[in-house]
């Protein structure tokens, strides 16, 4: 059985002291160990930026892609080898800006992967510019007078893109984070987990305390039914006053992409095992 420590590498994390990434990193290792996954059974893809800096601090197969491209590379790793557990990580800059179409299409394709999006409402590594999740009107390094664009709620993008699992966690609550990560990975189909992650250096508004005063857990709420898409959309709206965390939406009947490919239904092998020379008999006749 894998231990949490098996997921450590020799590299020490170098995030700013107090960064939400520490909780995220620890929770992810914890979740994987609790699920009994061995490091060699897991592939994690990374984006660029502070989120991507986790790449060499977590011992599993990893692919650190380009900025914005953590999702598409992950989708193909999964379809090529369905035996692997594939988790795609990145920040709000990579997943909601540079690569937002990838998120939408991966969701509608319902690949059996988990996307974990660190949302610190800032570009961290490039020293604090505003992103699509920064509240309208807030000043940023490249908008000193306050940004004029509307902000977008990530859970909404996931929901309208037909994601079959949409959840929100908070870096200040690692116990819930581990639960959500496990639920997301176990979900059959595309799961999207947004993690509210204070940036202690460049975001003086959305601090740990700010979040702590506002978040509440859906699992504490009686009668919340995550299979109700409209309700999920509604409850995801509030990111300012009372912020819901937990599983916002889950379609338990979800059929993942690979299982929808009827032409591969009777194949017991994976595309990895199928690499060999194929005879053109049965195909060349069409050219005659």
């Amino acid at each position: 059985m894998a231990q949490v420590s098996d997921y450590n590498t020799t590299i020490e994390p170098n995030w700013c002291p107090g960064c939400g990434n520490f909780a995220l990193w620890n929770s992810l290792k914890q979740a994987l160990a609790e699920m009994g996954k061995e490091p060699n059974e897991v592939v994690i893809t990374y984006d660029i930026g502070c989120a991507g800096n986790m790449a060499d601090k977590l011992n599993s197969y990893g692919f650190k892609s380009l900025h914005g491209r953590t999702v598409p590379v992950a989708t193909a790793i999964k379809i090529a080898n369905p035996d692997l557990t594939v988790i795609s990580t990145g920040g709000d800059g990579g997943i909601m800006e540079e690569g937002v179409t990838h998120l939408m299409w991966a969701a509608r394709s319902n690949y059996n992967i988990t996307v974990i999006m660190h949302n610190n409402q800032r570009f961290g590594l490039t020293t604090g510019q505003q992103t699509v999740t920064t509240k309208k009107g807030e000043p940023g390094k490249t908008a000193p007078g306050g940004i004029v664009e509307e902000s977008i709620t990530p859970a909404h993008v996931a929901l309208i893109s037909k994601a079959t699992f949409v959840a929100r966690g908070f870096a200040g609550d690692p116990v819930q984070l581990v639960k959500l990560m496990k639920a997301a990975v176990k979900h059959k189909g595309f799961s999207f987990l947004e993690i509210l992650q204070p940036c202690v250096t460049f975001n003086k508004v959305n601090t740990f305390q700010w979040f702590q005063e506002r978040v509440y857990k859906l699992e504490d709420k009686k009668n919340y039914n995550p299979s109700d898409w409209d309700k999920a959309f509604d409850i995801a709206k509030d990111v300012e006053e009372r912020i819901a965390t937990g599983i916002l939406y889950q379609d338990k009947k979800s059929v993942p992409y690979s299982e929808k490919l009827t032409y591969r239904k009777n194949r017991k092998t994976t595309p990895i095992q199928e690499v060999k020379q194929y005879s053109i008999k049965g195909f060349i006749e069409e050219f005659e």
Binding site: P39, N40, Y61, K64, P72, V73, H102, V275, Q277, Y278
Partner: protein
């Protein structure tokens, strides 16, 4: 060419020009004649003018002539657009109701062109067919000009129309009606060279570059193909998508080219064989990801079927305009291999090689096609199962990994190639990293490691250089003039050389299929004794530029074409006469 006939069919897009041409091409093959079929069409679904030209010969042929012996007009516009292309004493076949302008009429008479009218409507009515069957009448009429051997056409109409058309009998009656009418009307004795006889022939096939690329992708063991549709590369995507029930290949039409290339890289990293296909604009979108494959040393095979740019350019036409772009593609420096097949035989053999090279050197291989090769119908000897075996390069087995204590995926080696592990394998865990990294794959800003890692990757070029073959010298060996060319223009040049040389040894050709890295030896040897002429389907003679940059040899004489069409056989013969 010893004997050749060119027949051009013209009509509005949507009028069935391509179907008619395809049936005729297939029927000609079964009659035992060699063919090459080339089509021109606009970037439109309906309306707009399109043509389909079949060049027929008693020997293998890979090119079109600009001057045609027979023009078949499915509408009046075709006559007005193409009457000047008909050879002296050639033939024009057209619908009885079409009007020919007096000026055109005179020009046709001056050149002694035989006019053959076909009463399309009457023949359809007589056979109780539908208006759409005018096409069948025309097909019968065209065949009648070429040969008296009706049954070869009948068989093709049956096998091609038989699948979809309900009233195949009526269709056949219309075809026969057209055939009989023209047989009676045409003065065959005046154009006896058209009267093709039946020749016994070995097993042959007809296919486009895209279809053969798809077939070869399958034969090579590629199991994931991702692409975003873009003319003229879409044919590969469609070929594979339409056969997944039989092949089981996962064919993914992605939301954009960046996704397509990222998925191709992801699938390859996971350990299967994958590929993607696009055209120049799509490849431009993929460039950052190509550099990612370079630094993560992920095997990657990409088809780029060229069309005239820049930007959207002229989407449905042809050009060899992307060689400069792909030879330097991607930011930073990393090894890459560029292959440019010259015909479908080379497509069939180079694709499996591309996969082997990509896996052996764990780097990018680009296969350059263009609209001409991708979408023209070549005829060749039936392919046998490829002799090129699947060679996956250095992948560590589970047993080999079991003995690893501290696996280093990016180990510094003499060849620059580091054995890889496939995700899932125990003790093989590593990070593929777009950041510069150490031997484990971990990010580094240690500048000595950066230097060593850069040198490790670039060392692979030496292996590639020594492995790739020299360009092929085709034609008479002791000729004193050598045409230097690459990729798809092999066919037109090869065919033109037969006419230029006419049994003598004046001109030969040096054809590059392994375009990059540029080999030095043969070109240096030839530059010392022969006159070199670069013949390229682009503006700047990009291969000549590349040769100069890499070898220092300057090819001063150049013939370039960048109007959207390939080189035509007669055009080349004429132009080269002045150069030789």
């Amino acid at each position: 060419m010893k004997q050749s006939i060119a027949l051009k069919i013209g009509g509005a897009a949507g009028q069935g020009v391509k179907t008619a041409g395809y049936i005729l091409t297939k029927a000609l093959k079964s009659l035992g004649w060699w063919t090459f079929s080339y089509s021109e069409y606009p970037s439109l679904i309906r309306g707009g003018h399109s043509t389909f030209q079949i060049d027929i010969s008693d020997e293998k042929i890979h090119s079109s002539n600009q001057i045609v012996d027979i023009l078949v007009a499915l509408n009046e516009e075709t006559i007005n657009l193409h009457y000047e292309e008909i050879a002296v004493k050639g033939l024009l076949l057209y619908g009885k109701t079409f009007e020919i302008r007096p000026r055109v009429q005179k020009a046709l008479e001056d050149r002694k062109i035989q006019l053959v009218q076909l009463p399309l409507e009457e023949i359809v009515k007589k056979n109780k067919g539908l208006p759409v069957m005018e096409n069948s009448v025309m097909i019968g009429g065209m065949w009648a000009i070429l040969t008296s051997e009706y049954k070869f056409l009948e068989n093709q109409v049956k096998s091609i129309f038989g699948k979809k058309a309900k009233n195949i009998e009526t269709n056949l009656a219309c075809t026969k009606g057209g055939f009989d009418h023209v047989r009676a009307a045409v003065k065959i004795h005046e154009i006896s060279s058209f009267d093709l006889d039946h020749k016994e022939s070995e097993d042959r096939i007809i296919g486009t570059g895209n279809e053969v690329a798809g077939l070869s992708v399958y034969a090579s063991g590629c199991r994931v193909y991702c692409a975003y549709p873009m003319t003229p590369s879409t044919g590969i995507l469609q070929y594979l998508a339409q056969r997944t029930d039989k092949t089981g290949i996962i064919v993914k039409q992605a939301e954009d080219e960046i996704t397509a290339i990222q998925m191709t890289i992801g699938a390859s990293f996971a350990g299967t064989r994958s590929a993607c296909g696009t055209s120049g604009g799509g490849l431009a979108l993929m460039t950052e990801s190509l550099a990612l494959a370079g630094i993560t040393e992920t095997p990657l095979v990409v088809f780029n079927s060229q069309r005239p740019g820049p930007a959207t350019g002229v989407p449905t036409w042809t050009e060899q305009g992307d060689l400069s772009f792909v030879s330097r593609i991607g930011h930073g420096e990393f090894p890459r291999i560029i292959l440019a097949p010259g015909d479908i035989d080379e497509v069939f053999s180079l694709v499996p090689e591309a996969f082997n090279l990509a896996e052996k050197y764990q780097t990018l291989v680009i296969i350059l096609l263009d609209k001409y090769l991708s979408e023209s119908w070549y005829q060749t000897k039936k392919f046998k199962d490829t002799k090129i075996k699947v060679q996956r390069g250095q992948i560590l087995s589970r047993q080999e990994l079991a003995s690893q204590i501290d696996f280093k995926r990016y180990k510094f080696t003499v060849s620059g190639i580091s054995p890889r592990s496939l995700p899932g394998s125990k003790r093989g865990v590593f990070l593929a990293n777009s950041d510069e990294h150490d031997e484990k794959g971990y990010s580094t800003e240690d500048l000595l490691t950066r230097k060593q890692m850069m040198e490790k990757r670039m060392r692979k070029v030496q292996g590639i250089m020594s492995e790739l073959p020299e360009p092929k010298l085709l034609g008479p060996k002791n000729a004193r003039t050598t045409i230097v060319c690459w990729g798809s223009q092999k066919g037109p040049i090869l065919d033109a050389l037969k006419d230029i040389n006419a049994g003598k040894s004046k001109v030969n050709m040096l054809h590059y299929t392994y375009v990059y890295p540029v080999k030095h030896e043969t070109i240096k040897r030839l530059a010392g004794k022969n006159k070199l002429i670069a013949v390229e389907n682009n503006y700047s003679a990009q291969l000549a530029q590349l040769i100069r940059a890499e070898t220092g040899i300057e090819i001063k004489s150049k013939m370039t074409k960048y109007v959207g069409t390939p080189f035509f056989r007669d055009e080349l013969v004429e132009a080269l006469k002045h150069k030789v």
